[in-house]
């Protein structure tokens, strides 16, 4: 077995791992950055490749499901880029029969999920961090907004978030690149909802830059960011944080490294390194360092901890793997038509905005009325569009003419907070291993009463907004039976807290049990808010790295 030594091992090169490698190596620390997938050079980017250059034009779902039955659940797994995702048969997971879970977005590329993420970037407010103080459920985070704020600023400045400041306390503003434009129908919704209901509909806050920074060009509105970006206009760790880390000369990137377990010295209760399996050669290798940072994604990091010790490493609390959260995704909402709003004719040649609308949480807010049926709240994503009428009736020349008849509509789709509950959890499946022989996760998760009560209100609320906006043909919907996982926002599997008896991490993402072991992805989340989690986990990762460097300087690590 070959052994190399570094100061710090970072497991995972996505949103949090990229930041950790950048932050530490730019401060002169020697980092080993381990990525389970292959290098991302950009050579496979296909955002400008026309569908008819693909054999199946991305319409052969059944064919893709032969190798990626779960990954294909995700809109971002396409014929253009499906090879970036795991083969579900080779790297499976299990669930109880009556509790399906869709674990999507499992990329095996440098940059991780930031290759294919939805890019929506929102800050959490104290309302999100201190839900228990407000309604009594769960636990408060051990930190406040002011603790994260400077790190939000730092991360946003570098990542580049386009958006609009609104001055609404439920969704703190950031330092935005110029906002992307809204259509007339969207403006009509925004102004009338604000006027009649007092709620805020704003342009999505997206990690798509609208001015040049750090050698990256502004968005050119081609559309499918999930397939890559020649101009690096959306934030992808592979071409930003990871590139900077490598540029520093202090980061060694090791690709195709499936980290199996963390090594520890029982006499000192310290982590000493990790063991990984080379995906291609199946060589088993060991890397040693003064500290280990797990940035592998909330489920994969839990899996590594469970594989590292009987009962789970750093699990004296017994909560490792528990309190798994997602968001209820497109769970309830409404669409409405805006036939009178001015709109350009639809055209496949028009610019495409890689971003939608965002409606700031309006239920159970600190200053607003409380709902009787459920705790917490939801935001709406979605957006307006002027579409071809593909469902026009008839056939022949008349059908083709009708297709061109424009239809302007707006969709509001709810993303709801999911309460952290002990009985939503992951553990090792004692019987199943992946193709490397590594035990896989068994995921047990379902919606609780609170989620089921909230989802129908998304439909009612969205319809109310459409009515206020003067929309026609309003169609509310709700989906109570969508299985968890579709939000692709797994959080909470190693939650932080002040009490080592009820949490795995402290506020700096350091495990209570092992001082030189940190978990820096969304595992740490105590509650999930209704906002997309990536911006927050990046800010927390940088904060955790600063803590680690202090501890290293102090000599305690």
């Amino acid at each position: 077995m070959q052994t190399n030594s570094f100061d710090v091992i970072v497991v995972g090169s996505g949103a949090s791992g990229g930041w950790a490698a950048k932050r530490l190596s730019e401060a002169g620390i020697k980092v080993a950055l381990l990525e389970a997938g292959r290098p991302q050079t950009g050579a496979e980017f296909s955002e400008h490749v026309p569908p008819y250059d693909l054999k199946y034009r991305d319409q052969a779902s059944e064919w893709m499901r032969r190798t990626r039955p779960r990954q294909r659940d995700c809109y971002a797994c396409r014929e253009w880029n499906y090879k970036w995702f795991v083969n579900d048969h080779e790297e499976p997971y299990t669930t109880p029969d009556n509790k399906p879970f869709s674990w999507q977005g499992r990329t095996r590329m440098v940059g991780g999920r930031t290759n294919i993420w939805g890019r929506q970037s929102y800050r959490f407010s104290d309302q999100d961090l201190h839900g228990k103080s407000f309604d009594g459920f769960g636990e408060d985070w051990p930190i406040s907004y002011k603790d994260i704020e400077p790190y939000y600023d730092l991360v946003e400045e570098y990542v580049g978030i386009s958006g609009q400041a609104e001055g609404v306390p439920e969704l703190p503003d950031g330092r935005f690149h110029p906002a992307m434009a809204m259509s007339c129908a969207e403006m009509q919704l925004r102004t009338r909802v604000k006027s009649k209901l007092g709620w805020t509909v704003t342009i999505g806050r997206a990690a798509n830059i609208t001015k040049a920074i750090n050698g990256r060009a502004p968005c050119h509105y081609c559309g499918p960011c999930e397939q890559g970006c020649a101009t690096r206009s959306y934030f992808n760790a592979a071409f930003t944080t990871v590139a900077d880390a490598l540029q520093s000369g202090n980061t060694t990137l090791i690709t195709d490294a499936m980290v199996y377990r963390i090594l520890t010295d029982p006499s000192t209760r310290r982590a000493t390194g990790v063991i990984y399996i080379d995906r291609n050669t199946r060589d088993v290798r060991e890397v040693r360092a003064r500290a280990v940072l797990l940035c592998a994604q909330a489920l994969e990091s839990a899996r590594i901890l469970f594989n590292s010790a009987e009962g789970g490493l750093a699990n004296s609390s017994g909560v490792l793997g528990h309190y798994l959260m997602d968001h209820t995704w497109v769970a309830g909402g409404a669409s409405g038509e805006f036939p009178d709003a001015p709109a350009a004719k639809p055209s496949l040649g028009a610019p495409r905005r890689p971003n939608g609308l965002y409606t700031i949480r309006m239920k159970n807010t600190i200053n607003g009325p409380r709902e009787k049926k459920y705790l917490r709240g939801f935001g709406f994503q979605g957006g307006g569009s002027t579409n071809f009428r593909m469902n026009a009736p008839g056939y022949g020349a008349a059908f083709k003419k009708s297709v061109l008849d424009p239809l302007t509509s707006v969709n509001l789709v709810g993303f709801g907070e999911v309460l952290p509950r002990f009985d939503n959890f992951v553990a090792l499946d004692p019987k199943v291993v992946d193709k490397f022989g590594i035990p896989v996760l068994r995921i047990t998760m379902s919606w609780g009463e609170n989620e089921k009560a909230m989802i129908p209100d998304m439909a009612v609320t969205a319809a109310q907004m459409m009515e206020a906006a003067g929309a026609k043909n309003i169609q509310p919907f709700s989906v109570l039976d969508r299985i968890p996982g579709y939000g692709i926002h797994e959080m909470g599997t190693a939650r932080m807290g002040r009490d080592p008896k009820s949490s795995v991490l402290n506020e700096f993402l350091q495990t209570h049990d092992i001082a030189n072991l940190y978990v820096m992805d969304a595992s740490s989340f105590v509650s999930g808010g209704c906002q997309n989690p990536t911006l927050t986990l990046m800010a927390l990762a940088v904060r955790g790295c600063d803590h680690l460097m202090q501890e290293m300087k102090r000599g305690s690590i």
Binding site: Y56, A181, F477
Partner: protein, 213 residues
């Protein structure tokens, strides 16, 4: 719009990836050609994005496409020769331009890797139109005149969707054909696609007041 909507009766969304029902495929088709806006994780919604209209063609890819289209004598993977000709005739009637866009060959290739249920429904739809022609004219679909085909298509397209199997076959075939046609280069160009994927500006509402009143 009722002021108190009942979500339980309202529409359900189907992910684009779920091709197991013709409904989901129709929804997927709408998403396929959705326009600007919902650049989020919204497959299945009417305005959901699809990469199909986000692409351009370089001179090279155009040339390749034309070369592909020029390949004669396609050997079907799923259908037999008669079915392929029937599909070609039906496709041209449903969405004119389909023959030149090689819709039949593409669909044969696509449905060859689809689920057994979708394969059966597709083959069944072709058979049903053949039988409709035989019942009325004692000939197969491709042997009757254009006017006779049109009369039968009109009947199928306007039949009661609840009671008529022909209406279901019509909608099923039409959805496949439209999806194939509008993802071909010819179909995309008909919808305004011009090969330019670098846009300097994103136009938006410039009206003062934002349509408040």
């Amino acid at each position: 719009m009722a002021s108190n909507p009942e979500p339980s009766k309202s529409m359900k969304l189907h992910p684009v990836g779920d091709a197991s029902t013709s409904l989901s495929r129709r929804v997927a088709l709408q998403a396929l050609l959705g326009s600007v806006g919902a650049g989020l994780a919204l497959p299945g919604t009417a305005s959901g994005q699809h990469p199909i209209h986000q692409h351009f063609s370089s001179a090279t890819t155009l040339e390749q496409a034309q070369q592909k289209a020029a390949v004669a004598g396609y050997t079907p993977e799923l259908l037999d020769a008669h079915q392929l000709r029937t599909l070609e005739a039906l496709a041209e009637s449903l969405v004119p331009g389909s023959t030149a866009a090689r819709v039949a060959a593409y669909l044969d290739q696509l449905i060859a890797v689809d689920s057994p249920t979708n394969q059966r429904d597709f083959v069944s739809a072709l058979g049903a139109f053949d039988m409709a022609a035989m019942k009325k004219h004692s000939k197969a679909w491709i042997a009757i005149s254009s006017a006779e085909q049109d009369a039968l298509l009109r009947e199928a397209s306007t039949a009661d969707s609840k009671s008529s199997p022909m209406r279901a076959h019509f909608e099923n075939l039409k959805t496949w054909v439209a999806g194939a046609y509008y993802s071909s280069e010819a179909g995309m160009r008909e919808l305004g696609w011009d090969g330019n994927t670098f846009h300097q500006e994103l136009p938006g509402c410039t009206h003062p007041g934002g349509h408040l009143a």
